[in-house]
């Protein structure tokens, strides 16, 4: 650590000339990572498109088996969390350590609300047998829900590929949910680093990169919500 050469720029790693160079490198790296994330989710969206075009009836009935009010609530929660994340970045950039910590905590709390709502949705599906692929075995209330969903969709029967719909539903929302959990963990880490005073108006890169990741998680949900819950 050549602290002598860089004065109080303790955050500046020795292989960078200036804080700006280090920041630009970090940001390019982050955007490349996010591009990779987009392509990863892109594969799932392509699978969604293919199966939806093959089994349109399963998709319509399947979406009626999801509660769009829960999905809409979670959309609002994640949008709000993106706002608190961007406010955490703003606070860090302006050197407001206390506000940075509070906005990070608010973001973590909203992510927690998202996961709790998701838990209730998953719990119900497990209970009535709306499971992916060969595990699809609706029973009890689930059967009545299917009859009702088919009636609402104008479909005369149970689409065989409801199991495929729920397969994609669980993979897409599951992988997204995993990203939410990872985001909560990373924001907790950032909260702790902020508490220890590691960030300043000169250096807030980790908070900014975390927020970029969080916004991407939000964007994925912005597409998942209407594509899974609002088909007709």
């Amino acid at each position: 650590m050549s602290t002598e050469a860089h004065g109080d720029s303790h955050f500046l790693q020795h292989h960078y000339d200036t804080p700006a160079q280090q920041f630009n490198a970090a940001k390019l790296g982050m955007w490349l990572f996010l591009a990779q994330e987009l392509l990863f989710f892109g594969g799932l969206f392509v699978a969604y498109g293919v199966f939806r075009s093959w089994y349109p009836q399963a998709w319509v009935v399947g979406s009626h088996l999801l509660d769009y009010r829960m999905g809409a609530l979670n959309t609002a929660v994640l949008l709000l969390s993106s706002f608190t994340a961007v406010m955490a970045v703003r606070s860090a950039q302006t050197g407001n350590q206390k506000a940075t910590g509070n906005f990070l905590l608010a973001t973590i709390a909203l992510a927690g609300v998202f996961m709790v709502v998701k838990y209730f949705e998953y719990a119900h599906k497990f209970e009535v047998g709306f499971l992916p692929g060969s595990h699809f075995a609706p029973h009890g209330v689930g059967l009545a829900e299917i009859v009702e969903a088919a009636r609402e969709s104008g479909v005369n029967g149970v689409p065989y590929h409801l199991r495929t719909f729920f397969g994609l539903y669980f993979v897409m929302t599951g992988v997204h949910g995993l990203h939410v959990l990872i985001g909560m963990f990373v924001m907790g880490w950032m909260w702790n680093r902020n508490r220890k005073g590691e960030f300043s108006t000169r250096y807030s890169t980790p908070v900014e990169m975390t927020a970029l990741y969080w916004h991407l998680v939000d964007i994925i949900w912005i597409f998942l919500f209407p594509l899974l819950y609002l088909i007709d």
Binding site: N24, K27, L39, S82, A144, I222
Partner: protein, 159 residues
Amino acid sequence: MTTEPLASHSPSSPDDGEVHHHVASARRHVIVLLALLGFTALTVGAYTINLGEWNLVAAVVISTLKAALVVWFFMELKDDVAFNRLVFLGAVIFIGLFMAYTMNDTRHRNRVDAYNGARVDPRSGEFAGGTAAGIVAQGGELGPLPVIAAESDGEAAHE
């Protein structure tokens, strides 16, 4: 063109080597949030009034607008260097290519045979596998609706 230090190409850094953020006003962030929530309400509204075939179009168009707001303002691609914008745009374009080429195949399997007046797999004499037309033609997509007993309170009553 004279040679300049690389960092000066970035809008976030003039010549002193420090990071200079475009700190946006909190007000702008609030306005973007309200727009995003408004678009969400619009999506749900479009669903509840049921636009039929146009539901998918409305959903995708509105979602794209929302994603654009998040990327442009919250992720501040607006003030970012051109190369980062290119990275993002590249990912979007390749997803589009991936989607378009794949679905151009999967949606139209079986169609060539139909054009030739034979909707069967010429090798096996059966409907081509993995296609909606083939599955529906075999009566494969829809099963009978379950019979719900009036007294049923669930729990494996219909296994």
